[in-house]
Assembly symmetry: C2
Homo-oligomer: 201 residues x 2
């Protein structure tokens, strides 16, 4: 691992490629696959920002390299902004995308169309390991839109098939990865963090 | 039905008895069982108050008598105040108490004990039928407490087995009906509404 490498706290290759596209080739980017012994960090924070910082701090301390981590989710107006930080385990089991999506649709079944506003939110954190106080940055990105009543599209993951961004007639599951990056919560958060990353190099 | 009767918009005999105990014998109280053709009112409001008013207005207009309706639910801090108005259908089907309770426990499984604060909230509305603008009152009652990790007690209904009111070591499902009335959200809301009801008589 080069001394100027950056670790992205994820095992998701799609996220790694997305951040690599945004940062260009000036940064050596590694995922958690390069650190098999890295700690598994429980996402116990009350906010996306808290969870992103928890993960970035733990990985920066373990890898002794600057680390980026993100936490994101779907915030539905009619659910007071939930599933939010519980997006990945909304139906009770962690990571069952289909069950999570179906539960949200059932919960809003009686909610009028006028109150189906929703947004995807992503917090991205950068932590630089240091003796004493570690420098930290955290930014958020979001994309506003609304829920639709039945899933459409096979791209993306999670709640993408039921989320239609404002100004579009398709869901984020019907967009190309590049089109989704351009407007997505994660794309926006990573782009907002990029200047802080490149300033480190 | 006497001309000075009051209709409580419920088919739940427990709620009828509770309001009767609070009002005493000065009011003739009827439930929806006395009005078989009464409309079934969808609870589409964003707040407990809105739903209680929707129901009370519909029943007052139908029965041509003053009507009381309540809407209540469990508000969990770590769920941004949800299940809230969706308490009865949280797991997707309407009225499956056990599924609703189990889903809430699974959703907060990774939430630290320090963030298990919750409250039961009840809005109670009184609507008097009138030509033109109908007089309306709406009040709320709540009981603060916290979730416990596993159900205890067989009394009550809904989320009672996982709700421990502040100052108590038992859940509301372990209390006698009278002890629960004394502190409950519904007891408090009905008692707050009682002076407006008796002023009508």
């Amino acid at each position: 691992m080069p001394a100027d490498a950056l670790v992205l706290a994820t095992r998701n290759q799609g996220k790694l490629r997305e951040l690599a596209r945004i940062l260009g080739d000036q940064v050596t980017l590694a995922g958690l696959d390069a650190f098999p012994g890295a700690p598994d960090v429980p996402e116990t924070g009350a906010t996306f920002e808290a969870n992103a910082l928890l993960k970035a701090r733990a990985i920066a301390a373990y890898a002794k390299l600057p680390a980026v981590a993100d936490d994101s989710g779907l915030c539905v107006d009619a659910l007071n902004g939930m599933p939010g930080v519980l997006s990945a385990r909304w139906a009770g089991q962690h990571g069952d995308d289909q069950a999570n999506l179906e539960l949200v649709l059932a919960q809003v079944a009686d909610v009028p169309d006028t109150r189906l506003g929703a947004r995807f939110v992503c917090a991205a954190a950068l932590v630089v390991p240091a003796d004493g106080v570690a420098p930290e940055w955290v930014v958020t990105g979001q994309v506003e839109g609304r829920l639709i009543r039945a899933p459409k599209g096979t791209g993306g993951f999670g709640y993408d098939p039921i989320f239609q961004p404002d100004g579009f007639t398709e869901t984020t599951a019907e967009m190309t990865p590049e089109a989704k990056d351009a407007i997505s919560h994660r794309g926006r958060a990573f782009r907002a963090l990029a200047p802080f990353i490149t300033a480190l190099i």
